[in-house]
Symmetry: C2
Subunit: 269 residues, 2 copies
């Protein structure tokens, strides 16, 4: 059983999930595809997001992936059910793991979700949370400026904090929110800024850590853990992007120490 | 889909898991069976543990349970594979969730496990950890005095700290252990004492929290979440024991605020 785990995202954001997957499942092989050319998905039409997601999935299926991780909240919100119905391998999104993490964390029973416009409008987190805990309170706010900020690499500049302050102002006004879900896999890249803005009153959760253990659980239940001992060098993740290699190169090295990953540009069109 | 989730344990220890299951899955119905009469399982023969566990399972199957949670590390170590092979419902033990939680937590890559003699001798945690992360370091110590201490209710008395000090002395000597798995579901009941003894250098993990999210994940994957909105009063967990009601009554109320649970003595023999 030497098949890789496939990970798809609209761009670099899913590297936060890949990083956790590698940390929690160091024996596994990973192949990652980020559709940076057409990023952000968060303000595209449903039909476009569906089409782009399926194009990524068809590309990765060539590599005989054993599990598909949809490391993009927008694609999870809009396409996960379709993928689960039509693929014969287990498919794991990031919304249910994020919802489960929030249910574990909240004591006030009031959770805030920030994400792209599409994710927030889909109410996918609200549904996932209420499906498990019907009486939970939620407040959702879209932050359309975050993904362009991160994909451009300008998130270390001084005006980035102003963008974050402005975007989260309405959440800070609600007194009893104790848990904030980063409902977009790009956002952990600016998590220190977000934590600085919301302060100690909220626990900031990324879906990435919980998605890591959910994938581990699914590998156990479907008996899909890598069984062979493989050569460490063959375990470098393969990272593919439809866009520029520049930001990928920087984020994978600076933030995730994925120095040894092989990075390649591909075309889906 | 109004079927309950079955939870079995050798005694009161699994109430730590039931508590987390109820917290993370408030819509679900639970039926718990603790075999206090024959507790502890930790020093019984493999054959006895298998027989007793199957007797509990057969008793709970009458209630048409949709998932079985083996909230006992000893029974998980010795009987989980058999149960998974022979039952048509998903079966979740506590060892793999505990192992996953430790892999998420450790930074030094050295994890200690404390449990009953049977659990430690089975090396079930070592195997579960290495199956996911081959190069992880483990140190295991059995604490045969803990379960009798807890089941007797004497764990608040002053000599309890001496028992804990003595039992954990060898673990405290290992400088790079940063994560301690409570490899017995009884142990969270004395978690404050254990944390006091090991100090800040170790994160003390119970399997209970992670087992809660693992059951939630399995309900999602098998499409088994409770779909009806049910009357809150019908959601009181049913707690059955083969032994004395006294310690159960005290622990369920004092520690878990399970005041509304119905408690009943039954016989398996």
């Amino acid at each position: 059983m030497d098949r890789p785990i496939g990970v798809i995202d609209s761009g670099v954001g899913g590297l936060t999930v890949l990083h956790e997957l590698k940390r929690q499942l160091p024996k596994e092989r990973f192949i990652y595809l980020g559709d940076t050319l057409r990023c952000p998905y968060g303000s595209k039409s449903d039909q476009e997001v569906q089409q782009y997601t399926w194009e990524m999935v068809h590309y990765l299926i060539q590599f005989d992936i054993k599990v598909l991780v949809v490391a993009c909240n927008t694609a999870t919100a809009l396409v996960l059910d379709q993928l689960k119905e039509n693929l014969s391998i287990p498919v794991i999104g990031v919304i249910e793991p994020g919802a489960r993490a929030a249910i574990k964390s909240t004591e006030t029973n009031h959770v805030a979700i920030i994400g792209t416009e599409n994710t927030v409008n889909s109410q996918a987190y609200d549904l996932a949370l209420r499906n498990i805990k019907p009486n939970i309170n939620t407040t959702s706010v879209s932050c359309p400026e975050f993904v362009p900020l991160i994909e451009s690499g300008r998130f270390v500049e001084s005006d980035a904090i102003d963008v974050v302050e402005r975007s989260l102002a309405s959440i800070k006004e609600v007194y009893d929110i104790d848990t904030l879900i980063l409902g977009c896999t790009h956002y952990p890249i600016i998590q220190p800024l977000i934590e600085q803005v919301v302060g100690d009153q909220m626990t900031v959760l990324s879906s990435a850590i919980e998605t890591g253990s959910e994938v581990s659980t699914v590998l156990t239940f479907y008996n899909l853990h890598q069984s062979q001992t493989v050569d460490e060098t063959s375990l470098e993740p393969v990272i593919l992007t439809t866009g520029s290699l520049h930001v990928f190169e920087r984020i994978k090295e600076e933030i995730f120490q994925l120095k040894s990953a092989s990075l390649k540009q591909i075309s889906l069109i």
